[in-house]
């Protein structure tokens, strides 16, 4: 049942540009896809390993800036951009992870927050490198000399492709022994340790892996947006990401995607309607946290179960 719903969604996503949808709406969906990659990466850390982090804005930003600087100064080739940016993000992920992972809970949250802000301050201050608070206009990337991010439809399909690869990868991870170990660490790290798991190594792996995918989202994003500025490295982006993940359902594969879609679409929609859109999002969020802790997906599956039960019982 579940897989058929997903198949329908996939089919929809594939034909979207061909249905005559406006480029504006297409770009919203593209943005949702890119941020879903980011949300899924955060979910690996928050939902599966149980490490609530405010650091993902930093990795997204680092990947984005690395991609921007590479395409502007080093090479237009998408291959080069990918390699350079992923390596840079990976290094950041490894260093920060190594420093931060001794901590847990609130303190871990705060240290990731500190690192995000340090990177933000660097992006804001080092104008010679990043253009400072004014940001950078980003040139278009090429694939073997040909421009690829040309039309909204092209950008959409490339983003969809990366999204699907990410989704499949995460699906593999989540159902693998590695993924299960992460859940175990979330639930009871002491017991995992007793059984013989090297907890810290698993945490580190999860951290770096999620940082890499966050960076990937950043690389894609600068080609979509043609622009990067320190606001993308700010902790408020990390905060919004947390909301997206929790809203949709942390610890599930599709939750973050749903959460991202809802958050971005609502933010866009409601802010056209009223200047008090933060209030609306706040209220929604409070209602959800109070009543439905597992997020929308959790609600959805509970409702589904109950409907199924109601049908089977006489």
């Amino acid at each position: 049942m579940k897989s058929s719903i997903l198949a329908v969604f996939l089919a929809l996503l594939l034909v979207l540009p061909l249905v005559g949808i406006k480029p504006y709406h297409l770009s919203i969906v593209t943005e949702i896809l890119i941020f879903s990659i980011l949300a899924m990466s955060l979910n690996l850390l928050v939902g599966y390993t149980g490490l609530t982090s405010l650091g993902h804005g930093a990795f997204f930003g680092v990947g984005a800036y690395a991609a921007a600087l590479t395409v502007n100064h080093i090479s237009h080739e998408i291959g080069v951009i990918l390699v350079v940016s992923i390596i840079v993000t990976g290094v950041f992920g490894a260093v920060i992870g190594w420093l931060a992972l001794k901590l847990a809970g609130f303190y871990f949250l705060m240290v990731t927050f500190a690192f995000t802000q340090i990177i933000f301050c660097a992006a804001d201050r080092w104008r010679w490198l990043t253009g400072g608070s004014d940001g950078l206009v980003v040139s278009q990337a090429q694939f073997f000399g040909k421009l690829i991010f040309t039309s909204p439809a092209m950008i959409y399909y490339i983003s969809l492709g990366v999204f699907l690869i990410t989704w499949l990868t995460f699906r593999q991870i989540v159902y693998s022994p590695f993924g299960q170990a992460l859940v175990g660490i979330r639930e009871n790290p002491h017991r995992m340790c007793t059984i013989g798991y090297h907890v810290r190594r698993y945490k580190m792996a999860a951290f770096v892996l999620s940082a890499l995918f966050a960076g990937l989202a950043g690389i894609l994003y600068v080609q979509f947006n043609h622009f990067i500025s320190p606001v993308h490295v700010h902790w408020t982006l990390s905060g919004s990401l947390l909301i997206m993940v929790i809203l949709g359902g942390a610890g599930t594969l599709n939750g973050p995607v749903l959460g991202t879609a809802m958050y971005l679409y609502f933010q866009n929609l409601i802010s056209s309607f009223t200047e008090y859109w933060m209030f609306v999002i706040g209220v929604l969020f409070i209602a959800l946290i109070t009543g439905a802790r597992k997020g929308l997906l959790g609600l959805g599956s509970t409702a589904w179960e109950r409907l199924a039960k109601g049908r089977s019982s006489p």
Partner: protein
């Protein structure tokens, strides 16, 4: 027993609520295309739509809202329709964020099909919007976002116009003016693009007028609450004047604390307009008296255009106008005149660009023309002093520099 039942019912309600939201979710795609959610009201003839990007929420909401007010008043005063077509402003919140701004810009251009774009407060947004407007070949009239690099010869775009002073235009004249009378200057300001450019522009004017090297220079992080360490440092350097390029909340705090720590007695405090604009002066009180600034407008400017503007603004909004209102007003005026000349035909954006290029307007802040090399405005700059007269503190013109052109490189 009762509690579990209540919990179940509550969960049902939440599920139902979410499902309903989902339906609205889907329906909204259709509705948004029809422009239902735009701030425009229903129109009779096909309206001329102007997309306005401003921060309506968040820390700069005041500035953004003032720009919209200025625009609205301009259209109300001069004409709310061209060739029988009503002019509609569609305002979107850019949240001071280039990412959001681009999203909203796409909505305005592709979904709402606006005829042109106006607005912006943040320079970051200005850069990204200039890039977008040039790529999509849409006219963009910038009413703020005055970083020096936005309107240069190197990134000239026929589609983008700057109806606001570039940083250099409101820092260099002060440098020039101060160098005539003072010898020891201390420069300070906020530590981000604005403060850095202001410092550079000020020094440019100061050095060109023969001023000696500054006795000190320090930039404070944005949103500093306590300027005590900096004020102590300034006092230690013993300057006779200070150029402080703060704006917003920083300017309120800095001016007040400068006075509280007794520095105002021996040192002249100067800055650019936002240091003592009509809003901040309210909060600063008597601490603002004697502070000098350079800016493109002046509340008490004695011209018929300005007097009319100030009076009408006060009647309409029960408030004093500040530079953002002037900018919105001027931008809207320029757009209106251009639209009128083309009889509302915006299908050829390059033709619209040529008409706007030829603008020569006597605005409430003086004569406005565009520099053909950069499309940035050529403005009269006023050196103003804050004085208390009739129980109210306002800025008064001490000297003016006519037709200041921003550098091309």
């Amino acid at each position: 027993m009762k509690t579990t039942k209540w919990k179940k019912t509550r969960k049902e309600i939440v599920v139902f609520g979410i499902l309903t939201l989902g339906i609205i979710f889907g329906a909204s795609v259709v509705l948004q295309d029809s422009g239902f959610f735009s701030r425009a009201s229903w129109a009779q003839a096909k309206p001329l739509k102007i997309g306005v990007l401003e921060p309506i929420s968040g820390v700069y909401a005041e500035a953004g809202q003032r720009q919209v007010k200025g625009m609205q008043m301009a259209f109300e005063q001069y004409g709310s329709e061209v060739a029988g077509r009503p002019i509609k402003l569609i305002v979107e919140d850019d949240e001071l964020n280039p990412q959001v701004a681009l999203r909203k810009a796409r909505k305005l251009v592709e979904s709402d099909e606006v005829d042109l774009l106006m607005g912006v407060i943040s320079s970051g947004v200005a850069y990204s919007m200039k890039d977008y407007a040039t790529r999509t070949k849409k006219i963009l009239v910038l009413t703020a976002g005055g970083a020096d690099g936005v309107m240069r010869k190197a990134n000239y775009s026929p589609y983008v116009f700057g109806v606001r002073a570039a940083t250099w235009q409101v820092s260099s004249p002060m440098g020039k003016w101060l160098a005539r009378k003072y010898k020891r200057v201390f420069i300070t300001g906020p530590d981000y693009a604005l403060g850095i450019e202001m410092t550079k522009g000020f020094k440019d004017g100061w050095f060109k007028a023969g001023g000696p090297p500054p006795v000190g220079e320090v930039l404070a992080p944005l949103n500093t609450n306590d300027y005590a360490p900096y004020l102590t440092q300034i006092k230690n350097a013993n300057p006779d004047c200070v150029f402080a390029s703060f704006a917003g909340g920083d300017s309120v705090r800095f001016v007040k604390q400068f006075d509280e720590f007794g520095l105002k007695k021996q040192i002249l405090l100067t800055g650019f307009g936002y240091l003592t604009d009509e809003d901040n002066v309210r909060a600063q009180g008597d601490s603002a008296i004697g502070v000098m600034t350079n800016f493109t407008s002046c509340y008490t400017l004695n011209t018929p255009e300005n007097k009319k503007f100030v009076e009408q603004y006060k009647n309409r909004y029960k408030d004093n106008p500040s530079q953002d209102d002037y900018n919105g007003f001027n931008g809207a005026l320029i757009v209106y005149q251009a639209l009128k000349e083309l009889r509302g035909n915006t299908s050829d954006q390059l033709a619209l660009s040529k008409v706007i290029q030829k603008t020569d307007l006597m605005s409430p802040q003086g004569r406005i023309r565009f520099d053909p090399v950069t499309n940035n405005g050529i403005f009269d700059i006023y050196i103003r002093e804050a004085r208390k007269e009739g129980g109210e503190i306002h800025n008064y013109v001490v000297e003016s520099f006519k037709e200041v052109v921003a550098p091309h490189e």
